[in-house]
Structure formats: structure tokens, C-alpha cells
């Protein structure tokens, strides 16, 4: 991932609203794939998104998209934005809305028509696009918003809380579209405060809190950086006591806790060293390991650790 070029770059960006600092010295680069932007309410997610989409100017630092300032109109050609607001133009049909947004992009009438049809097809809304926006479900509104964001085939798609309030079926459909876009080489930035979503959805995660970037990278990378919090690994095996004895001999294992009848919980300091060792042991001895799960490498757990560290 690190070899792929970045399309958007924040360089030491800060943003103040009067005396309140919303974003503090933030730097990162956005690459192809799905990047999750995670943080509690008021963390600075919306400010970061509005700086990226050229709706706000940074107080300090620079935001560049390709090689132009995000504030310039040219940068918006590369970005598709799907805001979290979804109560808009209730009287308008989904098709008319997407077409209108294509016209605002600068397309001529015929091009706008073609582009909007292609976008509606991509989000699987072609057959329902003539209904009024006011009659749509939450999931359908999200898809129409996504269609207007991708109508000009942007390289970067910024989605603000795209799965908020969407039912499981709609969520699965949207996630499928996000994945298709990411597979097509686009950079997708998804802001969310629902951390469970990010475990399976995001290739990379950026954790933000109180205007500061706490960490960014893949979940595994970030988890490994948290040296003060050893990785918790639960193993179910037929002979847990024998396995616990073996585990204690490994340098990467800091502690072992038996959880009767068949589980043991390990505290692992260097996962990169531990897992190959475990695999070697499992192959050599017959411990009959039934299940192995990392307990605290989810987005939520990592974010919890990061917040605790930031609090210190």
C-alpha cells in the first residue's frame, strides 16, 4: 500500500474557528482503497472532510489534490463528495437530482444525462430513480447521494457517515458498491462513528480525536504500535493446560490466563514473532487447536486504547 502514490495530501494542516482549534497539525496522504476516518463527535472529522472537499480553507498548512490546492475549483474535478445531510429537495426525483448535480459539474445536457444514468446504474437505482426523493428510504437516499458523488467519475470519493441509519440489506449493497469503486483504483474516504463497520470495510483507518490524528495505517499496523497494550489472543484447544505451559516459554508472550474448560487467553507483545512460533508449535505438537481469535484488534478496541493513550 505504501508504494502506491497518494492523490490527496494534508501537510501540517490546522484549522481554527475563532479561538477553537478544530484540526491541529494534521498530515496524511490518501491512497487507492478504502480508508476509514474514525473519531467521536466533535473530533474534527467534518472539518477534515470539508477541507479535503474544498469547502473550507486551512488556517495553516496545505491540502492538495493531485497537484492543485483543494480550495481551487480544479481540485473538485477529482473529488466526489457525499455529505451526511439527506433531507434535501424532497419534491425532486432521484434522477433529476443526479442530473442536476452533473449539470453543476459542467456537463452539457446530453453528457449529464449519460453520466447520471451510468451513476444510477452503478448504485443499482435506475428503476427507482423517477420517484421523489421524499419517498425514498434511508438506504435509497444514501445511494442517490452516492450516485451524485460519482457522477463525474472522480478519483477520490469522500463519504460522510454513508451507512448511518441504513438497514442491513441496504448496508450490504452499499458496501458492495464501495468495494467496486475501491477495486477500480479509487480512493474512498469513509467517515464513521460506527466502529464495527470499519473492521471489515476499511483497508486503512485514520483515528482522529480532539483535532489531532492519533494514528493512521492498517488496523494491524496500528495495533502493533500499541506496545503498552499487549495483543489479547484467545485459543480454544483440547489440552489447554499443556498449551499454556508451552506458551509461557515463548518470549513474545507476556502472560497466560486459563479460561476453563478449554480456553486460554494470552497477552502477546510481538505478534509478528508470536504467530509463526504458534504455527510451528501447532504443527509439531498435537494440541488440537480448535479456534484462535484476536480479542482486541478490532477498530473499537484499538480506538479505545488510542484514546486512553491520548488521555494520558
Amino acid at each position: 500500500m505504501s508504494e502506491t502514490p497518494s492523490l490527496c495530501r494534508f501537510r501540517r494542516v490546522s484549522k481554527w474557528y475563532g479561538a477553537v482549534i478544530a484540526l491541529n497539525d494534521v498530515s496524511f496522504a490518501l491512497r487507492p482503497g478504502i480508508t476509514g476516518l474514525v473519531g467521536p463527535n466533535g473530533a474534527g472529522k467534518s472539518t477534515l472532510i470539508k477541507l479535503l472537499t474544498g469547502q473550507l480553507r486551512p488556517s495553516l498548512g496545505e491540502v492538495r489534490v493531485q497537484d492543485v490546492s483543494a480550495w481551487s475549483a480544479a481540485a473538485r474535478s477529482y473529488i466526489g463528495y457525499c455529505p451526511d445531510a439527506d433531507a434535501f429537495y424532497e419534491e425532486m426525483s432521484g434522477r433529476a437530482f443526479v442530473r442536476f448535480m452533473a449539470r453543476l459539474r459542467g456537463y452539457r445536457r446530453n453528457d449529464a444525462h449519460e453520466r447520471s444514468e451510468a451513476a444510477l446504474q452503478q448504485v443499482e437505482m435506475t428503476d427507482r430513480a423517477d420517484r421523489k426523493l421524499g419517498s425514498y428510504s434511508k438506504g435509497m437516499r444514501q445511494r442517490i447521494k452516492l450516485a451524485q458523488a460519482i457522477v463525474h467519475d472522480p478519483d477520490v470519493v469522500v463519504l460522510d457517515e454513508p451507512l448511518n441509519g441504513v438497514d442491513p440489506v441496504g448496508r450490504a449493497q452499499l458496501v458492495r458498491v464501495f468495494r467496486q469503486l475501491a477495486d477500480a483504483g479509487k480512493a474512498i474516504l469513509i467517515s464513521s462513528h460506527i466502529l464495527d463497520e470499519m473492521d471489515t470495510l476499511a483497508d486503512q483507518v485514520m483515528f482522529i480525536c480532539r483535532g489531532r490524528m492519533l494514528a493512521s495505517g492498517t488496523l494491524e499496523e496500528i495495533r502493533e504500535m500499541l506496545e503498552d497494550h499487549p495483543l489479547k489472543v484467545r485459543i480454544n484447544a483440547k489440552s489447554p493446560r499443556e498449551l499454556a505451559g508451552q506458551m509461557l516459554r515463548l518470549n513474545a508472550v507476556r502472560g497466560v490466563q486459563l479460561e476453563p474448560p478449554q480456553s486460554l487467553l494470552l497477552e502477546v507483545e510481538r505478534p509478528g514473532e508470536f504467530f509463526p512460533e504458534l504455527a510451528r508449535l501447532a504443527a509439531k505438537e498435537d494440541y488440537e487447536i480448535e479456534k484462535l481469535e484476536v480479542v482486541d484488534a478490532s477498530t473499537e478496541a484499538v480506538f479505545d486504547y488510542l484514546l486512553r493513550q491520548a488521555g494520558q
Partner: protein, 293 residues
Amino acid sequence: MSVDSVGFRGWSERLTSPWLSSWSIARTGLLLVLRRKLFWILLGLALLNFLFMFALIYLKAQLSAQNPAIERFVDRILTSVTGTGDSYLNFMFLQGTVTMLMLAFAGEVLVGSDFQQGGLTFYLSRRISRRHYALGKLLGIGMLVSLTTTIPAVILFIEYGAMTDSLTYLRENWRILLGILGYGAIMATVLSLVLFALAAWLEKTVPLVMAWAALFVLLPVLGRILSRVQDDEDWLLIMLWRNLRLLGSWCFGSVDAGEETELIGWAASIVLLVCAASVAAIIPRLRAIRVVQ
């Protein structure tokens, strides 16, 4: 790895000017307004007056054609269709009542909802700037004003000319056409700015209607009371609608020299002040982006 090899490409499509997007914004705004039944009722009301005038002009032309001698008599009875600048000025002024009512209810649809529901972010994330957005919205309001004032007045002017034997009326009274367009442009500009400013701050229909009523109903009443109590006609200058009419009469060239010219100077200054205040109120609303909902 180069940028090209991961699917990114330079932007080379032929696109229209962002200024043309303002037209799309105006057109869409107008269509949104016309989707509501209330506006069709108000438009119908405005059309009633227009149709009445249209019929009167036709009737006058028919009567005059049958007996040219009674033309003066007809002119004396049907004072509203004399074909002079004043008759168009009066027509547009009367149309203004329905226009005002329409604008008070259209403010939320045209502008308020963009601020209330976060629709502004959709616009500002496109290739257009705040200027293009503002121009589009002002154009939309202006089109609504023109739909009930300038356009019907122009149609009546053409009808009046067409009903005469030759095109002499149209040739000799080009100043009236300029007057219609000028008064219409002044009304459209001033009302657009004031409505945009009020709708951007008040957002919802009820407070907007109240503010609109205060500006165009309460203030004129106050102006009349004060002018009587103080015995000073200058108080009438706080009536924005009257000031617009004064400017309109200047456009039609029906202003007497002397005191009235001075009055028009004051009216113009007040109208300009209102426009400047509206612009000053609009700018911070366009700058501010609501970050935390």
C-alpha cells in the same frame, strides 16, 4: 509507480463555464417552486389581473376600430389601458402584491432549505464557487419576480402595439419598453437580494413570512402613521415598495422636475442601502459552513 498506472488520469473533458451552472441553479429553483400547488394558485391570481388587462386592451382596440371617434371616450373610462408609461407602471405595481406573497412562501424552497437542510454542501462540493451559487439563486428569485411583473407587462405592451393599425406605437414608445425592463430589473434585483438575505438567516417559511410582512406591510403602515403624526412626508421613504415605485416612475420618464427628482434621489439611496445591507448579510452566511450538525 506513476500516477497513471493506478488509474488516475488528468482531467481533459470539455465542460461548460461555471457561470452557466448559475442558470441550472436558477432553473431548478424555479421548477422546485412550481412543483407546489400554492404557487400555481398565486400565479393564477397574478394571471387574473394580466388577463383582465389583456382583455381590456383587446376590447378598447375593437371599440376604437368600430368607431374611431369614441377612442378618447374609452381612454377616459378605461384609464388603466391608455398605453402610456403610467398604465404599465400601475400594472406592475399592482402585480407586486401577488409577487410579494409568492416570494414570502418561495423563500424557504429557493434558499432557506439549502441552509436548513445542508443542501449548500452539495453545491459547494461541485466545480462552482459561492459566487456562482449566489448568482444562481438570485437569478431564480429574479425570474419568479419577472414571471409575474416584467413578462406580463412586456406582453401587454406588445399587444397594445399589435392592436393598432401600424407599428407606430411600438416605434414611438420604445422608452416605455425600456421603462418596463428597467422597473422590472430594479424590482427583481432588490427583491432577490432582500429575500436571499432573509431566507439565508431565517431559513423557515413562518419566520420568513413574518419578516417579509414586517418589511412590506408593517413598515409602510408605520411610515404613514409617522408622516401624519409628524406632518412630514419624508417618513414615507421607509416604505421600500413605494421607493421602488418611485424608481420605476423614473425609469418610465414620468418624473416631474424639482421636488420629485430630489425624492427619487433619496429613494434610490435607501434602496441602495437596503441592497448593500442584504449583500452584507448574505456574505457571512455563504462563508460559514456548519461543521458540527
